[in-house]
Symmetry: C2
Subunit: 242 residues, 2 copies
């Protein structure tokens, strides 16, 4: 999946960043990393920061220049934090994901090019790109760490690819939400119990019940939780009659 996206790092100085990029990619199911004349590679720092994504690191290819690295790409995006004076079409990471992330199988090879840690991409490198790729951020402090930038872009592509199962973690081992009927039975039981234990004055019952309803309706009880609460009510009723 997302195998048509190639992450290209140009002249990375810190090998640790290369490792962190490999991890960020694998987290988002991307695997093809291309390196244009990295300062140090392979390197122990890269392996350490990859932590489990060494397969991405191992299969990374090194290229002598950017044209070689993107030769098989039909669309090339160059990450850029700076505003450029030349007119150049720009896409945000999300726009890029919406455009190409949704249907990776039908998409051509797409190169995502990230420049040097300190100075980004040079103009002659951006000339090879079809779009600038921008990550929305604080204008006063706009330089993301290299791996952080790759993480955001790959994350957007992953979300757009629709691969993630959207079931909430909370939905697992799933207990159904209580029905209105079950909730009404619960409220009746609650009201009866409060009368039984002498808490509820008949004339105050309405406003108190309204408040209690507000609490429990908001909570969206599931049937198991409801069973527990009604168990408590039963015990409380029995206790009172002893």
């Amino acid at each position: 999946m997302l195998s048509n996206f190639k992450v290209v790092l140009v002249e990375t100085s810190h090998p640790g960043n290369i490792g962190a990029v490999a991890r960020a990619m694998k987290n988002m199911q991307m695997h093809e990393l291309r390196l244009v004349t990295p300062k140090f590679f392979p390197h122990a720092d890269a392996t350490a920061r990859a932590s489990g994504a060494d397969d991405v690191l191992k299969s990374a290819c090194v290229y002598p220049d950017l044209p070689a690295a993107i030769a098989d790409c039909r669309i090339v995006l160059g990450a850029s934090a700076r505003d450029r004076t030349i007119s150049w079409p720009a896409l945000t990471a999300r726009q890029c994901a919406e455009k190409w992330g949704g249907n990776p199988h039908n998409s051509p090879n797409i190169g995502l090019v990230f420049g040097r840690e300190n100075s980004g991409l040079k103009n002659h490198e951006l000339d090879l790109c079809h779009y600038l790729l921008r990550i929305p951020c604080n204008k006063a402090y706009s330089s993301l760490n290299l791996a952080a930038a790759v993480q955001v872009v790959c994350y957007e592509l992953f979300v757009a690819s629709g691969q993630e199962q959207t079931t909430n973690v909370g939905d697992q081992g799933e207990v159904p939400i209580a029905t209105t009927e079950q909730m009404e039975a619960f409220y009746l039981h609650l009201q009866q119990t409060m009368a039984d234990i002498g808490f509820l004055h008949p004339e105050r019952s309405k406003s108190i019940m309204r408040r209690l309803r507000r609490i429990f309706n908001r909570t969206q009880l599931d049937t198991k939780e409801l069973d527990i609460l009604r168990g408590i009510l039963r015990f409380s009723q029995n206790h009172n009659t002893k």
Copy 2:
């Protein structure tokens, strides 16, 4: 902006990660970092990785436990990569951003809690959270680097806050796109020039012109570019008549 969001790191082992988190936060205009019993802090590695976000680091507060760190928060989200067996409501980073990022001024204090690098948050810590906070990712390799996770969440909040100016970089120093009238004048000029230089057979002119139109219409020329092209046409016409 986004000042109601507090990033809380629980028992971070590597001080470098604390620095990288500070940078990730500042990139997305977030400033309040809270640390629950970090292993080492302050530390040179934290300062190095913060690179320009030392203000976030300097103002970070250290707390003896999680309850103290989130005492003033009305909503608490606990980042979790693992699927939990207990039923717990979960929000993705984007859902969280849509819920609270859009109108930060009217939002209560919200704690974003991130656990230990290796083991995340313990169950008794998650008990203090109203929601699990999930980042969609590769199920087979789901552990993001701590700072990468913070980066994605803060990025989503920043995007939802609508603070970023949506002007394309390419729109700067803005030259208007050519009007249809200007384009038609250009096509006429182009056709005339091709006839003048002897390129265009009258009977082939129609299909050639259609192809050329397709190219230049797709390109969305601005008026300056159009001037340049027409200059070239003029020179080409004059050259031929010499």
